[in-house]
Amino acid sequence: MILRRPFFWIILLVAAGFIYAPLHGNNVSLREDLILIAIAIILASNLNLMIGYTGYVNFGHIVFYGLGGYVGLYLTTMRGWNLVLSALVAGAVVSFCAFLFGLAILRLRGAYFALATIGILQAVQAFVSNFDPWGRSTGMYLSFESYRPLGGARHALWITYYLIVAVMALSMIVSLTIKNSKFGLGLFAIREDEDAAVVLGVNATVYKAIVYSVSAFLPAVAGALMFFKNGMIDPSIAFEYMLSLEGIVMLMLGGQGSVIGAALGGALYEKLRSYLLTSPVLSNFHLVIAGGLLLLVVLFAPGGLIGWLYRLVPRARKVIE
């Protein structure tokens, strides 16, 4: 049972902290920091399902976030739907698309799969850039009207923030649940040796398509919320290739395959990035440092922070998920 897992309660505690901290003194700038961290955790956690659990490196994970943003913003702005419903529908639509993409490209393995994920990102971006209803390359803007049902802009931003924190908690809970389930065991078997997994009875084709589609759902919901909060979307910010790569750095940094590792990596990397971006000296170098960091992790601690801990204290494997 998930309720008996200590990490389930830790996740809830962290989420509570995220909600309480900025509320205290109406600290909007802290809220904006935390929202970026929450998004990083959401992306890293869901990417972990593919890379850490199943062993399939997805370079185009950000496509789900961007597409979710587009579908969500389209529904709220053009159709006047309510935010929560739009975000959920965005998640479902993107998840379904991912399932179809997955059936097509998941027969590829290793580097070929990784290349195909880049292909999907490029193809979707090219499609959206030429798609009239979504404003082609200029994108879409949210009309101020859309904030009204939520009690005006100020209120709407807070509500969106709470929803994003909820999605963050949910991402980690989903990771935790899958990790301890039979489904998760099947994924681990695929990661370790796909041929052996199939011979042992795991239906790898279906499992991979399902996990690919699951890993798309919450990022898409988060995208819908985030771009609603930002009030605008265009292809270059929705499908920011850099963010896709940084997702991988976060995961490697924290420790792929671990629920806590993915979240920790996401939070730490986001902290570091915002520090570098705002620092007057280093702001132009943040990608150089990210690249260097990735190199160091891959060379000296291939399992990331958590992997390093596992090696130091083998018993931690059983305790820290």
Binding site: S181, G186, A189, E192, V198, L200, G201
Partner: protein, 256 residues
């Protein structure tokens, strides 16, 4: 006795190479059938065709009354046909227990994880890995990994077990315990089809033997019929009266 597996006229080609050509045989319930032949005879390919890793180009395979010719490996396991690999394929970063739990989870009974763990623990005890459950599979010795292969296949609760060279690379003591294990498996009601190069072992274990050479079935019969079959001797040793001469010289004894 009931026929459990029937292979009829199966062929498998890779481009111009005919790896298995028009092979037919059957296994009865409760039987150990040995599959022997020189290197490159097509034994492992035949295994791969039977459990669905490769699709047969011709012929049909029936298992427990069902046509499995077009089934994928995971479907075949659900029907109760499990196998081991000649080149071991441990799930390295999972514990020994988890490795076997995968077998139990996705095997014939499709158990949920809690029950699968219990089955896995029992099977590990049975194959003699009971004290290694929490180790990572990567850190097992080669003999341990071979046992792990057998344990994973057994955890699937199969009706028929395909063993692909489980004795290769083991030292004499390990061979003896593995042979004992195979006997126990058969006694528990599981039929076995095994590939083996270790003649003494397979001669003493098998009820019947099928000999392959260059993808074709060369002979079939009881162990001592097969060793005295001149076509078999020629395939292995190159000249037909070798066995006769060696038996006379007292160099060849097949019986225990």
């Amino acid at each position: 006795m009931n026929t459990l597996l029937e292979v009829r006229g199966v062929s498998k080609r890779f481009g111009g190479l005919v790896a298995v050509s028009d092979v037919s045989f059957s296994i009865n319930e409760g039987e150990i059938l040995g599959l022997i032949g020189p290197n490159g005879a097509g034994k492992t390919t035949l295994f791969n065709v039977v459990n669905g890793v490769y699709k047969a180009d011709q012929g049909a395979i029936t298992f427990a009354g069902k046509d499995i010719t077009r089934c994928s490996p995971d479907q075949v396991v659900h029907l109760g046909l499990a196998r081991t690999h000649q080149i071991v394929k441990p799930l390295n970063d999972l514990t020994v227990l988890d490795n076997v739990t995968v077998g139990a989870c996705f095997g014939r009974e499709y158990l949920d994880k809690t029950e699968a763990r219990k089955v896995a623990a029992e099977v590990l005890q049975q194959v003699g890995l009971g004290d290694r459950v929490d180790m990572l599979a990567r850190s097992l010795t080669i003999a341990g990994k071979k046992r792990l292969e057998v344990a994973r296949a057994l955890a699937a609760k199969p009706k028929l077990l395909l063993l692909d060279e489980v004795l290769a690379g083991l030292n004499p003591t390990e061979v003896a315990t593995m042979i004992e294990l195979v006997r126990k498996i058969r006694d528990s009601g599981i039929s076995v089809l095994m590939i083996e190069h270790l003649m003494q072992a397979i001669m003493s274990l098998s009820d019947r033997i099928v000999v392959l050479n260059l993808g074709r079935k060369l002979a079939e019969g009881k162990p001592d019929e097969v060793v005295h079959n001149s076509a078999v001797v020629e395939a292995y040793l190159g000249f037909p009266d070798a066995v006769h001469k060696m038996t006379l010289a007292g160099k060849l004894t097949w019986r225990k």
